[in-house]
Symmetry: C2
DNA sequence: CTGTATCCGCATTGATACTG
DNA sequence: CAGTATCAATGCGGATACAG
């Protein structure tokens, strides 16, 4: 994801592919719902309805939509128990947990700079 | 950003405020353009037009909009040189650089799990 | 060059209803 | 309970024009 100065050399093909894919993944994952889902899921295994309660404010639709997306990218594992009524559980994969580590970093950052941000906002809004 | 089990005790007031603010910041910052801007800015100082070129695909509007947002939250510093034509330079603040460290983590994560993700997608799309 | 404002199409989102 | 589908709204984002 560095500067893009492709000269056309053979090795660049992979870099370009990787870069554009990285962008795509960024666009997928870098939205607040995905982050919140990953963060709340943590090391746990939660059902659809449990997630719905934890991530408050998320709609039924956005939850399923983001869960599908995360599953497609291999970040969450979806386990369906063939019972009635159905019981579906979601867990972070290894890749998901690795991503969560970085999201945790963002959470930590948020708390560290909370004051800084609030003050900056006050000054700006004047 | 942990579980929200507020009992109503006095100390909880701050936690709730911090939590909701953290959410708000998440919603602000967790979008691909903001990430890309932060990532490309790095340790450098760039002009508006330079940023426009680096972050390819971003529109005039989205760039200004995100730059304002980042400035408001105290993540970038905006320096206007009173010349004609105007010259405006953007730099990450300390808070911005700290956030960038975590965004870097995400970039690293992307490259580490690129193969995993591609394969997972192929399987899912079948 | 940088920035604001306006218009407008389109995608995202929520609400609702329905299936297994 | 979990998931899909449909519809309507609204808000995002791009294009354009214009000002300093």
């Amino acid at each position: 994801m560095g500067t893009k100065q492709y000269t056309g050399s053979p090795e660049d093909a992979d870099l370009m592919r990787a870069d554009s894919l990285a962008r795509e993944i960024f666009a997928d994952v870098a939205n607040k719902w995905a982050f919140l889902i990953i963060e709340f899921l943590g090391e746990r295994t939660l059902r659809f309805s449990e997630l719905r309660n934890e991530v408050e404010g998320i709609s039924h639709k956005m939850l399923t939509q983001n869960l599908r997306m995360l599953e497609r990218n291999g970040l969450v594992q979806r386990k369906v128990h063939p019972t009635v009524p159905p019981r579906v559980e979601y867990t972070l994969t290894e890749a998901g947990r690795a991503l969560r580590a970085t999201v945790d970093g963002m959470c930590g950052w948020t708390h560290t700079y909370l004051g800084h941000i609030e003050e900056s906002r006050r000054r700006f809004d004047a």
